[in-house]
Assembly symmetry: C2
Homo-oligomer: 328 residues x 2
């Protein structure tokens, strides 16, 4: 008999709905598993808690390495837990992280008070290609956390690759952190990221940095002025803040509240959620179709060789694609 | 016997390599065909001319409807044919166009002198989903035109959807046209487009518009200043121009030449071409995998129904995807 009887699955569902962190973590680990069977059980648990999701505010927090995302989340997270949130979850998409199997040691050292907070839950996404892809996993984590009663979910990304596009497709509000300066802080960030942000916060606006931060604030305000209103009807803005002094965190929270009020009243909130839901289904289909193809032994063997041939123009991309598609 | 004997294919190849516009058009029509057999013959022709491609400069020209893309291409195209280019091809990706089967009437009326020019070739991409997708088609057109001796290829897109991302993935240089004003001209453009442009040209800088155009130029310069150098090592810039007076076209050409010189010497030119080649192969694989899936009768029947169920939360995206993937 399978170690996962229906009774055990029901127990998982119960415990998650009651907010048990250990069962929540174990369910996420099942979903992240490379074993199709484990993942399948994870999906069954997720299916069962789906009716209890949808109630949180989901926020992406993106910024280049060094901008101070962890300090920001540590202090803002604690602040939100006092003012706004019953329960806060922090999920990190870090493509460079070597974390696996749900170890949260890395984040424990980074967000010391938050990780000890009774009403907070911190979980990094494992690195590497997994069965469902990082996007699907983080999305699934969001839903499990919602089912476990988390009403505010922060998704942390470093914004250097596909991760912030993934994040954009699963959050309600996108917050971009940048350092004071004149554009250097965008170094290494994926181009296009400024234009998808709902709010830009200039971090480390304290001490000698304060004047430079205010200069950057005005530069970004001028730049944002060039873009017209996004579909949400919300005008993205800029402000300065400091995780050291706590300055400016209130303002970001106020803007977040205004954004939620505006988009919930103009219908964009629900529309975005619906679109994301449909996009998620298409994403799963795409990922599964590609996985099935890439897992063929002949493809695994030939793909790297053929890619080299294409790069060196020994074969045309058309012929290469057709050869690979013809493999059994 | 097939109407396309090897001899006929060889004739196509010969005529295209000699620059015959009629054979070029007919080959493009074959590639655009909904009939798998026609398309397959088109691909065979393309395969055979592939060794003669790679020699052109490929430029995307993007801008919202009303910005004056056609006038710009008409006058700049003629200008380039005098100064820079032996042969110029203009390919348009227009998602709203109802053009099919290679009719170029629409563009003939839009670009009157250019369309009559002996050394110019104008071809719109047909609308709608075709076997290879618009991206693949336009890419194939580019290659056929190169084989036919076109050394400058302009790809016109309206920049409202996926088309400019597609264009970005197949050109060397990305030119964005905007109207004088303060951001309103970006209305309707896909967000993120400013950040992928290699050059921004403020159009219609003549008469009373001149001062507003110069103001916009300075606004965009300040905004671009916030972004750091793209991977190409090329600093994108802004200038004003007028298709009415011809003002500013020289400068854009000079910048284009500088871009080509820089990226050809720092290795980015070749790298970008190689990357695009590999991306093209992956694109064909993705498209074919998805087409094979979407063409299953059961999927065609159920997909619209299940999408509605997902939108209205009657079924979870996971279950929906699994149901569809399980169809024979």
């Amino acid at each position: 008999m399978s170690p996962f009887s229906d009774r055990l699955i029901a127990q998982y569902v119960d415990e998650i709905l009651q907010g048990d962190k250990i069962y929540l973590s174990k369910a996420i680990t099942l979903l992240e598993s490379q074993h199709i069977e484990d993942r399948s059980i994870g999906l069954e648990i997720l299916e069962k808690v789906m009716p209890f999701t949808k109630k949180s505010i989901r926020i992406a927090i993106t910024g280049a390495p060094g901008v101070g995302k962890s300090s920001f989340i540590e202090i803002w997270g604690n602040h939100l837990l006092e003012t706004h949130s019953q329960k806060l979850a922090v999920l990190a998409i870090d493509p460079s992280s070597q974390t696996t199997q749900g170890s949260i040691l890395g984040d424990k050292t980074r967000m010391q008070t938050l990780s000890k907070h009774k009403r907070a839950y911190i979980r990094p996404s494992p690195a590497g290609q997994t069965l469902g892809g990082v996007t699907a996993h983080t999305r699934e984590c969001v839903l499990l956390c919602e089912a476990a009663g988390y009403d505010l979910i922060l998704i942390e990304t470093v914004g250097v690759g596909q991760s912030e596009i993934a994040a954009r497709s699963m959050v309600d509000f996108f917050l971009l952190l940048v350092l004071p300066g004149s554009g250097d802080e965008l170094q290494g960030l994926k181009r296009g990221i400024v234009e998808v942000a709902d709010w830009i916060a200039i971090s480390k606006a304290d001490g000698e940095n304060k004047i430079r931060a205010e200069q950057a604030e005005s530069d970004y305000k001028n730049a944002l002025h060039l873009y017209t209103l996004p579909e949400s009807g919300w005008q993205p803005g800029v402000s300065t803040c400091s995780s050291f002094t706590g300055y400016g965190l209130d303002l970001i929270e106020t803007q977040l509240k205004k954004y939620v009020a505006l988009t919930q009243s103009n219908g964009y909130w629900d529309k975005q959620r619906q679109d994301q839901h449909l996009a998620w289904m298409r994403e799963i289909i795409d990922i599964e179709l590609k996985n099935t193809f890439l897992q063929k032994p002949a493809v695994q063997h030939l793909l790297p060789l053929i890619e080299q041939d294409v790069l060196h123009r020994r074969i045309s991309p058309i012929k290469a694609a057709r050869q690979l598609l013809g493999l059994k």
